[in-house]
Amino acid sequence: MGAKVVTITSGKGGVGKTTTTANLGVALARLNQRVIMIDADIGLRNLDVVMGLENRIVYDLVDVVEGRCKLRQAMIKHKQFAELYLIPAAQTRDKTAISPADMVQITNKLREDFDFILIDSPAGIERGFRNAVAPADEVLIVTNPEVSAVRDADRIIGLLEAENKGPGKLILNRLKADMVKKGEMLSADDVTDILNIQIIGIVPEDEQVIPASNSGIPVTLNEQSRAGAAFLVIARRLMGENIPLNPTENNSGGFFQRLARLFGGQS
């Protein structure tokens, strides 16, 4: 059946959906996967700048849907990876320019040629979210260890269940291990406990993420970056490898508890 369609969503804005999409794209490409990323955030496109591909845009997703270009013409190839592509969102339209059925149709055309189709969802729970989730085989919910972000993640999980898209898997982004240690931040265990879903990745807070987006070079290309290492772990887990979350960053809970979850929680 070809590619796996993975939608990255969150409910709340600003938790790192686009950064996560870009970095998972790069991480999967580094692992020799054929990847295409689709920016579903019509009207507020950003995946192009985070990827450093903003100057190459000729056609966008809405052009494809409305028949102004062929699908192939809207695909922008990454500078460094031959098998990493982006379909940008339109900037001057809104979410109603495409429908969930359009997204299903487009991804079905791409499935044969790729291993992964990553969809960057807009924030919110309205049309844009439904467009992004419609073709998903798997949904990743990005959240931060903060009350508002976790609450919105819970809402998304409820909506996914209502749409039969399963509970999804969690990416906990911007975790500060030192604050968790002091008891001033929700731990990964706290968050999975509250949301009661499987966690696929923990990304530590990393000061290299902003310089990376400043220059349009995802942090996963930086060998020194701890966040980059975490995205590589998530990519490998997405590919079905049974590897630990990120034991050095997860300071909450006992070692054996984490070990048990690791072996017990893997599907």
Partner: protein, 128 residues
């Protein structure tokens, strides 16, 4: 449940991380079942009014709480003690085999259930 001030300041050594967890649990229970705390209060009041037609409820000991072991298992757990002696007038049809003497233990998943000690002397004796 801690008072607003206690929650604001953290109890003793309590850190904001665990405050966050408690607040999230509370807000998510209501989010998930789409019942605001205000509506919950209205429902409680109505339940108590109905029961009060039959028995004399010890209002200050009532605990009606929402609990959730997971997203798809929500329940309302009510602990409503009443006084049979004072219930006679209000409740002519009251069942003599009341559960009051053998209260059922709460299920293990409840987080807000208050464990009332049995047969404690009245803490707030009223002047007669």
């Amino acid at each position: 449940m801690a008072s607003f001030w206690e929650r604001m300041m953290g109890r003793g050594n309590r850190r904001s991380g665990s405050t966050a967890k408690d607040r999230l649990r509370f807000v998510l229970i209501h989010d998930r079942i789409n019942l605001t705390p205000e509506r919950m209060e209205a429902m409680k009041e109505e339940i108590l009014q109905v029961i009060s037609k039959y028995v004399h409820i010890e209002r200050d000991q009532v605990d009606i709480a929402l609990t959730q072991s997971d997203r798809n298992d929500s329940r309302i757990i009510a602990d409503i003690p009443f006084n049979p002696e004072r219930s006679d007038a209000a409740a002519p049809e009251m069942d003599e085999n009341s559960d009051r003497e053998n209260p059922q233990p709460a299920e293990g998943d409840t987080t807000r259930f208050i464990d009332e000690p049995e047969d404690t002397p009245d803490d707030n004796p009223k002047p007669s």
